[in-house]
Symmetry: C2
DNA sequence: CGTTGTGAAATGATTCACAGCT
DNA sequence: AGCTGTGAATCATTTCACAACG
């Protein structure tokens, strides 16, 4: 029964139903809340209870989950344990993602020491920097490699994700290097749009754009966390 | 006509037409591209040219701008200079936003030294930390203040925005302190939903949620920057 | 002409309403 | 009774199509 359930999920996913972007963003929140409740020793939740905490309606949660098959027990709710592992599977968190970090400046250092990254299946398997003064030194307990080693190390270590925390001028070249070395996804912290065609997926985290959005909301006088979002 | 155009905008904005969230997010990108072209010495753009660079359709841009009145010259396009200052005004970037940073760990330090913040109208007017070992020291050329001084300093210096870069356990308390001291907007880096009611606006930047979204895309095999977003 | 600004149409996401399971 | 899963309805956003303009 559990075997065929996994099969359902995979079949549905590979039939290339397009999962809505907003749904994906929420999935992460669901998993977090599920883990929190599991850690608290709880066993079951209803979609309403789950949503309460994270500001999402019960219908929304059920609709989101329905993209991936059947999860719950009608009349009862969801088994946290089960829901957790299905979500982890969907989000690709049932494996370890080897990640290359490029740019070991203050932002890179912050990322290296950011708890959640290290803990939740994202292993920073190599760190690179173009600054010769940094190369060879240890930062946050990690040896910094020269850019020249990037291609070889990414290949040898089967690294699939890249984190770009270099100045914006260097972001595009860095992305190209990573992709040429075989990386499939890039988390970009530079405030630029990376042009990658269909060679990889990109997700950008843009601090200053967000601060601007905040300033806009405040200056409109729109109090209230209208769009906590993410 | 230009005087009344500004009037139109303000009237439209205060008549509380609800500006769509996605529009606000794009406005920031438009301003960036406009500034880039201004710096390159250009004088005019059409919506199509503007969109090319940042991956947005011309219609989308015109629709977005139309929320704020008339901007362009039919048959010609937009005057970069004019468009830039209108966008700056809309986004609240025609003033300096005094900001309090709470949490001077590595992430806080990265934020302090993040160029765009400092340059684009966001002044970090005070930095706080709960760690007594940090308080009183200088980090990235800024003196770290104790939490006990937060309320007084935020009031005295007319600080309107707060940046929360503390561990997630401390995020909610920190937000409450900031709001009680009069802050109207919070940029939250902790991976939790802040409960602020209608007392302030919140925008959250959640690194690990984003990495998860990336892992999801990659594991789905969805190559291509489907959702560069932000 | 080429380009803006905008109603109208199309697409996408959320909420509603309820059938069906436990 | 309580709750899930989902088609149908509503609401939001994007795209289309075109009139008006310089």
């Amino acid at each position: 029964m559990s075997g065929s359930a996994v099969g359902d999920k995979i079949r549905k996913m590979s039939s290339r139903q397009q999962i809505p972007g907003p749904t994906v963003k929420r999935l992460t929140l669901y998993l977090r809340e599920v883990d929190r409740r599991l850690a608290a020793g709880e066993v079951r939740v209803s979609s309403r209870q789950l949503g309460q905490e994270i500001g999402v309606t019960d219908t929304q949660i059920r609709k989101d989950l329905s993209w991936f098959g059947q999860f719950g027990q009608a009349g009862v709710g969801y088994l946290l344990d089960d829901l957790g592992s299905r979500l982890r599977q969907i989000l690709g968190k049932d494996r370890t993602w080897k990640t290359a970090l490029v740019g070991a400046g203050r932002l890179g250092q912050a990322i290296m020491s950011y708890g959640p990254f290290a803990r939740e299946g994202f292993e920073i398997a190599a760190v690179f920097d173009a600054d010769p003064r940094l190369v060879g030194t240890e930062v946050v307990k990690r040896r910094i490699r020269p850019m020249a080693d990037l291609d070889r190390l990414v290949r040898d270590r089967d690294i699939l994700l890249g984190i770009v925390s270099v100045p914006k001028e260097a972001a595009q070249v860095t992305a190209d290097l990573l992709i040429d070395a075989g990386v499939l996804g890039i988390l970009n912290f530079a405030p630029v749009r990376l042009e990658v065609g269909d060679r990889a997926s990109v997700v950008t985290v843009d601090f200053s754009a967000r601060l601007e959005q905040l300033a806009f909301q405040v200056s409109l006088g729109l109090k209230g966390s209208i769009d906590v979002d993410e």
